[in-house]
Structure formats: structure tokens, C-alpha cells
């Protein structure tokens, strides 16, 4: 069966006064129906921009899709007209963004906002839409849904607003739900509830999910597949357990190692990745992590490594690296 989503060589740039920002560089991957893909990366990794550009949500200018194809359910999204993309967003691909404070309209009731895509995409009557809104609010765990539906965003707490955002995201039963740092602005206890809700929804309705975050912990609990991005490229990708247990990219390894892992004060120093994030206005040459990578070779600085199957790992575990991390780590620890 063809994958639900196939991204091929997606390259996105922004033309800014200080030069061209190479935000996404030659990103290719595919996503199967029902799969949950966790995309991790920090600011400037291209994780959000690549997702937004797939559905025509980057401002152009300054944004520009340099090349690539995004095949979703048999159609190339990058070839669709703005009108066709408008019809697709919300209906076939649902979104949940980071900030529930600014993504909801403060002067409309929650009901109006959830009903809007239902009426637009399915031509539901007001009564039908109302019934569906209550059903959705119950699904995302908002108590007293019928009454709450008539309230305004300011009457909801941050966690409850994010539940509303998820209700809007899934309202049209999209084939794909893209969540971009959807729990980052929330308190940890609320985040835990939202993550539980997403796991529960996946069980109930089987949505395919792309979960974009910078938090390795969130990905560990939610994703089937992890994709680690840096400097606009995929550095490593694979089944979540393989990537966490046996990382092959020095960036993934460094990220995991720099987390405190329940470490206590004074026991040992936290591992730190040296250097600073890449300057994306530089023409992308070589491995973007090379300047910060203690294991980088000459070749890493001049030639971009392709994303290939990792040796001796499970199917689907891929890395883009010229160096052999396992050999380097063994040497570092003095093993043969």
C-alpha cells in the first residue's frame, strides 16, 4: 500500500534582508497510515517550517519552495491551487499549534469556532454542527460539554483551550493530524493530560499523527517513529526504541546525553554539545552538525551525507553521517 504521505526532496528558503535563509534542505521521508511520527529538533532545524510549507502555510514572499514534492493520499500538495489547499486544510489534514491563546478567536464562542470547518467542509446545518461540537468536546475530555460549547475562550484554562484546539484539529476526521509544539506552552501536569488524550484518540479513531516538538521525553512516549532534524536536514530517523537505545548520529547522541536523566547535583557534569546552532544564511555545505561534532571527519565539512540505512540495526533506522558513531564511541571508551 502506498504511504499516506511522501515527502521528496523538499527544499524551502526564505529571502530576507540579511540573505537567503536555507530553512529546509532536501528533506525526504514517508509516513504510513496510522503511524505516529515524532519530529524533534530545535529552533532553526526546519521541523515546523517543513510541515507548514507542505500545506501552503508559509508566507510567500519571503518564503519560497525551491523544489520537491509532497504526495499526500495520491496528490502532490505543492501543485495544488490555493483554493484546493484551503479545502484540504482542516478537512484532510488537521492542525494543532503551540499557542492556544492566540489561535482561538476571543470574540467567538467555542461552538462557533469548532463548527466553522464542519459547516464549511461538510455543509452541516447549525443543528447538526452543534451536535457534532458537543460530541467532539466530550471526546477530548471537556466536562459539561453542551454548556461549555457556548462559552468564550477566556472562560477556559490553558489546558482546556488546547483540548479545544485538538477538537478543532480532529473535527473533520482528518487523515493526518499535525501538532506543532502543541504542549510546549502548557504546564507539565497539563501536558501529561494532553498526551494521554492524544494516545487515547489514536486508539479510538486511529489518526495518523506528526508530532513536532523539541522534547525528547514527549517523543519517547508518543511516537512510533522518530525523526531528528538539524539545520534543515534529517540527521537520523527510525523506530523510537532503536533511535533512543542505539543512536547513530552524533547529534542525537549528544542531545540524549546532555539531558539530566535524573542525575543529581555534584555527581558529574552534564555533557554539553559544544558550539552554537548553525547560521542558516550560509549556503548549506556538508553535514550541518559537523562544526559541533567531535567525531566529524574532513568529508563531513565538504560533502553532505545522504540518509541511508544504519548498519546492523532494525529496518527503517536511517542516518545521515560519514563517521561511524559506534566505532568512535568504542574508541573513546577504550574498547576494541
Amino acid at each position: 500500500m502506498a504511504p499516506l504521505l511522501e515527502v521528496r526532496n523538499l527544499t524551502v528558503a526564505f529571502d530576507t534582508p540579511s540573505g537567503t535563509v536555507h530553512a529546509v534542505n532536501d528533506v525526504s521521508y514517508s509516513l504510513e497510515e496510522g503511524e505516529t511520527l515524532g519530529i524533534v529538533g530545535e529552533s532553526g532545524s526546519g521541523k515546523s517550517v517543513h510541515a507548514l510549507s507542505m500545506v501552503g502555510l508559509i508566507a510567500s514572499p519571503p518564503g519560497r519552495i525551491v523544489r520537491g514534492e509532497v504526495i499526500f493520499n495520491g496528490r502532490n500538495l505543492l501543485a495544488l491551487s490555493p483554493r484546493e489547499l484551503f479545502d484540504l486544510r482542516g478537512k484532510e489534514i488537521g492542525f494543532v499549534f503551540q499557542d492556544p491563546m492566540t489561535s482561538l478567536n476571543p470574540v467567538l464562542t467555542i461552538e462557533r469556532q469548532i463548527a466553522e470547518p464542519l459547516r464549511r467542509h461538510f455543509g452541516m446545518s447549525a443543528g447538526q454542527a452543534r451536535a457534532r461540537v458537543v460530541e467532539l468536546l466530550e471526546l477530548v475530555g471537556i466536562p459539561d460539554a453542551a454548556r461549555r460549547a457556548r462559552q468564550y475562550p477566556h472562560e477556559f484554562s490553558g489546558g482546556m483551550r488546547q483540548r479545544v484546539m485538538i477538537a478543532i484539529g480532529i473535527s473533520c476526521n482528518p487523515k493526518l493530524l499535525i501538532a506543532d509544539e502543541a504542549t510546549t506552552a502548557l504546564d507539565v501536569t497539563v501536558q501529561a493530560q494532553i498526551l494521554d488524550l492524544v494516545r487515547d484518540l489514536k486508539r479510538k479513531i486511529g489518526t495518523t499523527v506528526i508530532w513536532i516538538t523539541h522534547d525528547m521525553g514527549v517523543v519517547a512516549g508518543l511516537a512510533d517513529t522518530v525523526q531528528v532534524m538539524y539545520g534543515g536536514r534529517i540527521m537520523e530517523r527510525g523506530p523510537v526504541r532503536s533511535v533512543f537505545r542505539d543512536p547513530r548520529s552524533a547529534y542525537t547522541w549528544g542531545l540524549l546525553k546532555s539531558l539530566p536523566h535524573g542525575g543529581k547535583r555534584g555527581v558529574n557534569r552534564l555533557y554539553q554539545i559544544p558550539g552554537n546552532p548553525p547560521d542558516l544564511t550560509q549556503e548549506p555545505v556538508g553535514d550541518p552538525f559537523a562544526p559541533r561534532n567531535p567525531f566529524a571527519t574532513e568529508r563531513c565539512l565538504i560533502e553532505t551525507p545522504p540518509l541511508l540505512d544504519a548498519a546492523d540495526s532494525v529496518p527503517g533506522h536511517k542516518i545521515a553521517a560519514w563517521y561511524d558513531l559506534r566505532a568512535e564511541l568504542a574508541r573513546m571508551e577504550g574498547r576494541p
Binding site: G221, G254, Y271
Partner: protein
């Protein structure tokens, strides 16, 4: 009301906060009624020993940042006392506070908003020296700034550059250089790593520890990331709706949390391990249904470990 919990101090506390409160609202409106009263900080007491790091954790709206700001007299407390080296500095006039200001500094969360975009980073770091008349000659001032840059891991040749030329981690290093420019004894760090990239956070956490070892600094470290708190702090205080619900040595709080809110908070931290994370069951805690009663006080449950209860 018990007094400030002590952790068997070897020496007198550097900072001592006693029954500190900060309320907002409550005034009469011009046309009838009163502005709703918010007790952002409500009867909070703690001590920090010299060279110690006290972590202050809690969720948004718990009052942790307000506590830090009131502690440094950036806002006037509604009630309570702040003692610095045994001197009560609450409500001192601005000129009287000036010498204390040298000793007590703050580092903010957002390194993008807290740097002046029109000032070179060198000038920004030198500004406190000028304000306190410690700059000396031009070359002395220059040398001092250069040594501060080296101390925080920045190349002194960056002094002439502007903030926009720096990454978030470098900007936070600039803020730290400015904060230590006057050789302070005490620094309030208000979520200093929250806005930074994951790959940079460890660098800044290590820098905080190195500076403490080198300069003997005392920190109040405000954060919502509990895993970093455990790594950095000697003791932790957990805040909920303006009150400290639990305070104690790091080990006691993490290994033997007593307050249901502390337990819920600890259970909610995502663990970067797929096997652990998939089986983690967060403990639910409904804040509104479990607000600490006004009459509750901190009661000892272990060595230096106190929990709010009635």
C-alpha cells in the same frame, strides 16, 4: 505559623525571607465594587545559605517569579520581611538600596527581550560598572569586560558586536556576564534556560555551576523543569498558587515527596526513554479542588524537609 524552615545551617543564611506576601488588586473601583484580590505570593518563608542553590518550582501562576522579583525589591511586598546578611532591607529607600543592588542580581528568561538591541554587548556588560562608579579608566573598564566575557565562555573580541549577531545561548552568556559584573553574592535566575535550545541548555547549566564553584555565588533558581532542578540545586521549594507547599533537600523532594502536588508534578515529567515513558502513569491533581487552606502551615516531615498541612 512555624518559622522559616532551616536546613541545619552551618552558617547564618545569606538571604532570609519571612512571611512574604504580594497581593494584586483588592482596591476599590471608582464605580462600585473592588478589583478581585490575587494573592500572587502568600505568606512565604525560606532561607538560603551562602553558596547554596535553592530551586523554586511551580507552574505558571504559582508566584515563583513574583517571589524572585519581590525578593530583589523590584516590586514592593504587601507584607513580610526580606533579610540580607541579617539586615532587614524591606522598604528601604532607593539610595539606601543601591549598595544592596550591587550584591543581588537577576537573570531573566528571555535573552532576546532582556538585551538592549541598540547597545553593543560590551557596553551592556559594562553598564552596571558605570552605574556604580566602578569602571575606572577606559582601559581598566575594557579589561574588566574582557575578563567577564572570558569567564562566561565568550570570546572578548565579541565586545563590539550587537545582540542580533548572537544566538540565544550566547545572549544568555552576555546576560550572565552583566549579572556577575559587580561581583554579586546572590543571583536570582528566573527560568534562565527555558527559552534556550536543548543543545545549549546543558552549556548554560554547567556555566551556572562553574561560576558558583569559582565565585561562591548563591542562587535562587526559578524553573519549571524539575529534571534540571535536581541537577543544579541543593534544596527545592515547590510553590502552588502563591504558597510553598513543600521545601527540603533535593534528595528528599525527589525520592520522598510528601505533598500530593509535588507527587503530581514529579510524575508528569516526560522521561526520554521509550520503555519508561510508555509505562509512566502521571498522577492527576486538581489544583482548584485542592487549594491549600489559609490556615495551613509548613510542618517538618524529615531533616530540613517541610510540607504544608493543617
Amino acid at each position: 505559623m512555624t518559622d522559616a524552615p532551616m536546613d541545619a545551617p552551618m552558617n547564618a543564611p545569606l538571604v532570609s525571607v519571612s512571611r512574604l506576601s504580594k497581593h494584586y488588586g483588592g482596591e476599590r473601583r471608582l464605580i462600585g465594587g473592588t478589583v478581585p484580590l490575587l494573592k500572587a505570593v502568600n505568606n512565604v518563608s525560606f532561607d538560603i545559605a551562602p553558596g547554596e542553590t535553592l530551586g523554586l518550582v511551580g507552574e505558571s501562576g504559582s508566584g515563583k517569579s513574583t517571589t524572585g522579583r519581590v525578593l530583589l525589591q523590584l516590586e514592593a511586598p504587601t507584607d513580610g520581611d526580606i533579610l540580607y546578611k541579617g539586615e532587614n532591607i524591606t522598604g528601604l529607600s532607593k539610595p539606601a538600596l543601591k549598595s544592596y543592588r550591587r550584591d543581588m542580581q537577576i537573570i531573566f528568561q528571555d535573552p532576546y527581550a532582556s538585551l538592549n538591541p541598540r547597545m553593543t554587548v560590551g557596553e551592556f556588560v559594562a553598564e552596571p560598572l558605570d552605574v556604580h562608579g566602578l569602571a575606572g579608566s577606559r582601559s581598566e573598564r575594557q579589561d574588566r569586560v574582557a575578563s567577564l566575557f572570558s569567564k562566561v565562555g565568550l570570546d572578548p573580541s565579541f565586545m563590539k558586536r550587537y545582540p542580533h549577531e548572537f544566538s540565544g545561548g550566547q545572549r544568555q552568556r552576555v546576560s550572565i556576564a552583566r549579572a556577575i559584573a559587580l561581583n554579586p553574592a546572590f543571583i536570582v535566575a528566573d527560568e534562565p534556560i527555558t527559552a534556550l535550545d536543548v543543545s545549549i541548555q546543558a552549556q548554560i547549566v554547567n556555566l551556572f555551576q562553574d561560576l558558583q564553584d569559582e565565585l561562591g555565588l548563591t542562587y535562587l533558581f526559578i524553573a519549571h523543569d524539575l529534571s534540571m532542578i535536581r541537577y543544579l540545586c541543593h534544596r527545592v521549594a515547590v510553590m502552588l498558587r502563591g504558597r510553598i507547599v513543600e521545601i527540603g533537600p533535593c534528595e528528599a523532594i525527589f525520592e520522598n515527596p510528601q505533598h500530593p502536588y509535588t507527587r503530581a508534578l514529579l510524575s508528569a515529567i516526560p522521561v526520554p526513554d521509550p520503555d519508561i515513558e510508555r509505562n509512566r502513569r502521571p498522577i492527576a491533581f486538581d489544583v482548584n479542588a485542592n487549594l491549600p487552606p489559609e490556615e495551613a502551615v509548613l510542618r517538618p516531615v524529615g531533616h530540613g524537609h517541610f510540607v504544608l498541612g493543617v
